[in-house]
Each structure stands twice: as C-alpha cells, then as structure tokens.
Symmetry: C2
Subunit: 101 residues, 2 copies
Amino acid sequence: MDQIEIFKALSNKTRLQILNWLKEPELHFPDHKASCGESDGGVCVGHIQKKAGLTQSTISEYLAVLQRAGLVTANRVGQWTYYKRNEEAFAALSNLVASEL
Amino acid sequence: MDQIEIFKALSNKTRLQILNWLKEPELHFPDHKASCGESDGGVCVGHIQKKAGLTQSTISEYLAVLQRAGLVTANRVGQWTYYKRNEEAFAALSNLVASEL
DNA sequence: AATATATATCGGTATTTCCCGATATTCCAA
DNA sequence: TTGGAATATCGGGAAATACCGATATATATT
C-alpha cells in the first residue's frame, strides 16, 4: 500500500477512465465475452486499448502502472491478459483517505 | 474539485507530510504561537519550511500546489501567510474516493 | 515449423515535476 | 525612508511521466 505510487497512478485521466470502465465491464465492453471469452470480470488489453484510443504500448504500460499500485490484478489466460479492479485495494484506499490523510 | 490536480498534489512525500502536520498544528509546531502569533490554526510558511528541511522557495511552491488543489487555504496577515487544511475538501475527497473512484 | 494474434518491453521525444539559488514583492520597524 | 523579515516568483538542471513506433515474447492455429 504505497500511497504515493497509488496517487501517482490516479493522476492521469486515461487511467482514471480505465478504472471506471472496469467497475462495470459488461456495460462498457458489451462484446467482450463474444471475442475474448469468459474471464471472471476481467477485460483484455486490446479492448481497453480500443476504447481508450491510445496505442497498445501505452495502454499496456498504464495497466502495469495500475497493477504496480495494486489497483488492478492481471490474469493471463492463453494469449490474453485479463485485468480487473482490485476492490480490496480501493476499500483500503478509501479507509486511508477517510482517516489518515 | 479537480481530481487529477488533487491526486497530483498528493503524489509527493513532503506535501503529504505537510498535510499531516497541519492536522495538529499545535502538536507539530509547538512554538509557533510564540513566534508567529495567533493564527486560527494556520501555520506560517517559515515554520513549515524549517520542519520540512527543503528550501523556502520549494515549500512556498508546494503550498501553492496544495492551495490550487483546494486542500489548504491561505490567510495573509501582515508579513505572514498562514496555511491550514481545508477539511471540507478532504471530506469531499473522501466521499469521492469512497463512491466514484 | 510457420504464421498470426495478444501482450510486453525497448528506445525515444516532449512535457511535467522536483528542487534549487537568485530576485522581486510585501509588510513592519527603526 | 531605509533596512530587515516573510513570502512569492523566476529561471534552470535533473529526473520522472506521457505518449509513440518498433521490436520481442508468448500463445494458438495451421
């Protein structure tokens, strides 16, 4: 739980959007299951990339930033890496902001 | 309430320390009143600067960053500028993190 | 084995941030 | 009104960040 790493990860519009999209994957990525299969709520990099409109390398790096901050978890299955929110981390962050900031 | 500006402001160890010190000014700046007078919980730049151990210009700029983010308020009285936490902003941030992140 | 697909990593340029010293501004005191 | 104290602002060098295109790696398919 590195506060500074977390706040840095949250200091970018695109990364905030991604986190928001991942709150409701089936809403924001309606055709994900059809093209990427079942993934327990995780969304693959390519879909996130297309929606964000930045390059593949940039989105891959952004997801790595979010993962290093602990805000998302990655799950590689075959050729896809599924990313999903780490709600425990958000709960912990919420507590931290509410009581220790 | 610019989320990104707030998270950027929080992405620095010294600024986080300052915000923490300002939670209990009389504890962290025990001799403040004697040298800077009554200030309604605000602490002058010089005291913050000495405690932080960075230069005056850096701390002045950091306080401006925190102020632009809305996290502190400044109150100039004579030759001193007293900074204090804006607790309303922290409450709003806490709500935001708890419900919209 | 060869190819195609999804993702990660590398190298690079432009911008931003960190932190400094020097200078400007504002206010007080003699 | 001159000097001193507190703060703000300016200019700059080093490091980090925002993106990109190109390439590498891993997996799946044929």
